[in-house]
């Protein structure tokens, strides 16, 4: 199994009293809450944490994109990925993801990814996402066209990376007379593409398509949703497309905290993980799902199940119980991942080892303990330890 560290780079110095005055840590939270001097310290600390993980033998380090919020300070993950490119030697650098379709000009991001891929000699992984609903408020992009723009931006970027230029691209949303990318990406035909999601059958069906076979990454979900969606990828490959998906086509992304004992892990993680879920992820339904962002059917599902992680007040105990986070002694955490792997067989794991207000010392302790006591056993996992699943062939 490949183990990645994942960072959100939250604004941990946020005055949490904001919640009495504002509905969300997104879109409407005034940026006067952001202190650039503290931002300077946080960015450098967070980059240190990712570099430390690379030194400790993580297979990859990962960043992502969110706009105009306190939850994650990376409106451009290209900036953080670039900063990491020259400070690491062998770890994969995974941008999970970049919302190409939020841009009027996705080629600029395609160029930047190609640059990082060349600089790192082919260590880049490109994640493609639509961005969450709040992004469509913050950047003024029409959510009703989000799915269609996502697909078209993807096609444009992949063509730009693979097809000899100059050529013209004549889409519905994007029109370019000269597509002729300099540089071309180092990896051939192009950097691996991953599709992170909090659970979408449409995304899975798209990612699993034989012409793509992209890695589907399930993020922020209770164990039962992780199981449902990762198994759906395998089912979809078999039944819709007639091939057997490889275990490295699926991955799980989750917050992880390890300490000497279960009790200590719970106590240490508690205030910080609760800030992440209850304060930084505070997003009303209207911001999370702007009109047209989901199909009427999916929207109905969301409303009736209220199963989005941001829709409820969490405690460390409910998060552990539901399997949304993995927290405990090294034995507990190792066992939980090995058990889940036996059931689901995923070959990629993304661990969020800093979350919410988790301070520098506890974050470093968490990264070191995970790397020493948990990671080696997980890196050794292969399909041999996977129990497999019965997938009925297409009828």
């Amino acid at each position: 199994m490949k183990i990645f560290i994942f960072h959100l780079m939250p604004y941990a110095d946020l005055d949490m009293g904001y919640a009495d005055k504002y509905r969300a840590a997104w879109v409407v939270l005034p940026n006067t809450y952001f202190d650039p001097k503290k931002g300077h310290e946080l960015y450098n600390r967070y980059l240190d944490e990712l570099e430390l993980a690379a030194e400790l033998g993580f297979d990859g380090i990962s960043v992502n994109e969110h706009h105009q919020n306190a939850y994650g300070l990376m409106p451009s993950p290209v900036v953080t990925a670039s900063a990491l490119s020259r400070r690491t030697k062998s770890a994969r650098i995974a941008i999970l993801g970049n919302a190409f379709c939020l841009r009027e000009h996705p080629l600029t991001v395609a160029e930047e990814h190609a640059m990082i891929d060349c600089i790192t000699g082919g260590r880049l992984i490109t994640g493609m996402v639509r961005g969450i609903g709040a992004e469509y408020f913050s950047l003024g992009v029409n959510p009703a066209y989000s799915h269609a723009r996502f697909q078209e931006a993807h096609d444009l970027v992949v063509e730009a990376w693979t097809k000899p230029g100059p050529f013209s691209f004549e889409g519905k949303y994007y029109h370019f007379d000269y597509v002729n990318l300099w540089p071309r990406p180092y990896q051939q035909p192009h950097p691996p593409i991953w599709a992170p999601s909090t659970g979408s059958t449409e995304t899975i069906e798209w990612a699993a398509h034989p012409s793509r076979k992209y890695v589907y990454l399930q993020a922020y979900s209770p164990t039962r949703s992780v199981a449902r969606y990762l198994n759906y990828y395998r089912e979809c490959a078999q039944r819709m497309y007639g091939y057997t998906a490889a275990s490295n086509q699926i991955g799980w992304s989750t917050p992880v905290y390890v300490a000497d004992t279960d009790e200590k892990a719970r106590l240490e993680a508690k205030p910080h993980i609760e800030v992440l879920f209850n304060k930084l992820l505070r997003l009303p339904f209207e911001m999370l799902f702007p009109p047209g962002y989901l199909s009427t059917k999916s929207l109905k599902n969301m409303r009736s199940h209220k199963h989005s992680v941001s829709g409820q007040e969490h405690t460390v105990d409910t998060l552990i119980e539901q399997g949304i986070i993995v927290c405990g002694s090294p034995d507990t955490v190792r066992k939980q991942f090995m058990d889940t792997h036996r059931l689901l067989g995923f070959q990629n794991l993304l661990c969020l080892l800093q979350f919410g207000t988790l301070p520098r010392d506890l974050t470093e302790k968490n990264i070191r303990l995970f790397a020493r006591e948990v990671m080696p056993a997980l890196q050794a996992l292969t399909d041999k330890e996977y129990a497999g699943m019965e997938v009925r062939a297409a009828e």
């Binding site: 509905r23 879109v27 409407v28 469509y136 408020f137 003024g140 992009v141 029409n142 959510p143 009703a144 066209y145 009303p284 209207e286 911001m287 702007p290 009109p291 047209g292 009427t296 929207l299 109905k300």
Partner: protein
Amino acid sequence: MQHSEIEVRGCKLNMRRGGRGEPLLYLHGAQGLNGHEPGIDALAENFDVIAPDHPGFGKSDLAGDVDDIADLALFYLDVLDLLDLGRVHVVGQCIGGWLALEIAIRNTGHIKSLTLVNSAGLRVKGVPRADMFVCSEPDLLKLLFAGDFGSEWLQSWRASSDAEDIYDRNRAAAARYSWAPRLCNPKLDRWLHRIDVPTHIVWGDEERLIPFAYATALKQRIPGATLATIAGCAHMPHVEKPQAFAGEISKFIRSAAR
């Protein structure tokens, strides 16, 4: 009101029609029509009212080639050709008013008069419109209604799963046509001089979504336009003050548009 379906170049459009008198095309707003707008019924006492669900709203198909208000305006010129009613009175509320303006700057050949009710479409710099998409449902109701009529209105959407689906469809369709820039075409004011039919502007006097400055700006830019307010309502006069709404429109059409 009788429901019927017309097909416009492959797009099935759900249409209500009822009443007696000269034909009046009612163009609904971002909230769509949920079946019992008393103001539309009141108009039917004096007019032959034709009220379609715009593509993607209500029970009408989405039209694949209608992406924005400019497309929608041309689509409705096709609808008017197809209906073959001669010149009609056009009444539009909210984005329906915007749509009426976009139709009229292109071609007033089918239009006998124009009534713009709490109309979107214009951008008045420095006077922001409220955002109906970002707010919670209780806040949305406060934007739409002056009185406490809102919860009753919302309950009517929650009365059946059919109605609730239509509520979601309407929001998605409204976003499709009006998300960015929100509720306006910044270039629209350059072309309002082209409107050469009698035009009346009607505004709820407690409107908060599209401030009253928009009503006066429309009056200034549309040759000969007149302006009236309706007391005790906000963005939805046709729901909140149906008799005053229909009365105001009938009065204008009787006096100015004959």
